[in-house]
Symmetry: C2
Subunit: 195 residues, 2 copies
Amino acid sequence: MNDRPGLRERKKAKTRASIQKEALRLFREQGYAATTVEQIAEAAEVAPSTVFRYFATKEDLVLVDQFPPFIEALRALPPELGPVSAVRRALRAAVEAQTPEERADSLERERLMATVPELWAASLKGVTGEIRTLQETLAAREGREPDDPEIRNITGAIAGVLVALWFAWVRDPGMDALAEADQALAHLEAGLPLT
Amino acid sequence: MNDRPGLRERKKAKTRASIQKEALRLFREQGYAATTVEQIAEAAEVAPSTVFRYFATKEDLVLVDQFPPFIEALRALPPELGPVSAVRRALRAAVEAQTPEERADSLERERLMATVPELWAASLKGVTGEIRTLQETLAAREGREPDDPEIRNITGAIAGVLVALWFAWVRDPGMDALAEADQALAHLEAGLPLT
DNA sequence: CATATTTTGAGAGTAGACTCTCATTTGAGA
DNA sequence: TCTCAAATGAGAGTCTACTCTCAAAATATG
């Protein structure tokens, strides 16, 4: 009847974290495809079969959910706000809710994913699901069907603008991603004028 | 000195087409992952190793470049047109230049690519390059740098809207993809109002 | 301490994409 | 028809993600 997880649970969490950490390091250093599960197991000092006990597939070693906080922030915003404006605020809120450490970590991970084609590819299944969720959430805010073409276009445009920014950021890591994202969404909200 | 390719070349083209055709049929009927190269070889009445002589990887059986015609159409349009409007016309021009057969074929292919995560992932490297090309082309039309944030946003929004439509179309193959694309771009051009 | 449960390691096994080799066939050209 | 080069078939072989089994080790519990 102990709140604190027992030794067994703590050890499991540690093992899991260690496997994932080593995997990401190897992926970064030598590429996704070129890294075998065996190497990961060895680096994490664990048997290969243990890796599969923690992560069903190799791809799962990369996938992480940072999306729910954003969606929750979005759902919490009043529906009077337009979709783009709401996304803008939710994004800011979600980022600001992270500790600096979490933020650095997720930036590194995003960077890794965008840099290594195999990883970007591997994360794709998740990304499309996330965009679909965004679409459904925006639709709900406006009291429309998720497949409403206008909602679909807006969702697509938001995602497209952010992904384009993501790629630009990868080429120039110096930029302030959050500020740029805010500006980009503002530009989108204004109807994408060429000034 | 015959213009017409010799028997050998014609046979090769035929074999290649036959392999690809059977592969697409099997993918459609029983799924991509569930179809083995061996089955494809058998259906095309060819040895498995022959399949790999024509297509370096299983993924290559699906991937195709239809992008250049579109970009050329875009480059040919007068720069007075706004970016979105130009893309709209170029898209229409590129599609209309296809024979009905080519069109049906590429729709089928697109469908497979959007449906099967491995393929969508495999085509990703190409897609990102294409979007970059689009961005550069639009920038040139406007006399701007390719990395101009406004150009980047517009390019991202166009791509996002079209990709969102693509996915909607996959869920509902009945829709007229070209007409919908035209409408979606018109909506984008109007600033994505919610009516 | 003793027993029950969970987790792990070791390793054998499967499937399927992809490679290589070599003998055989087939079309090209004189 | 004869010779040469290219294409093919047959099949053995590799690589790696992923599965399964079972016994040993670690941990929980009384």
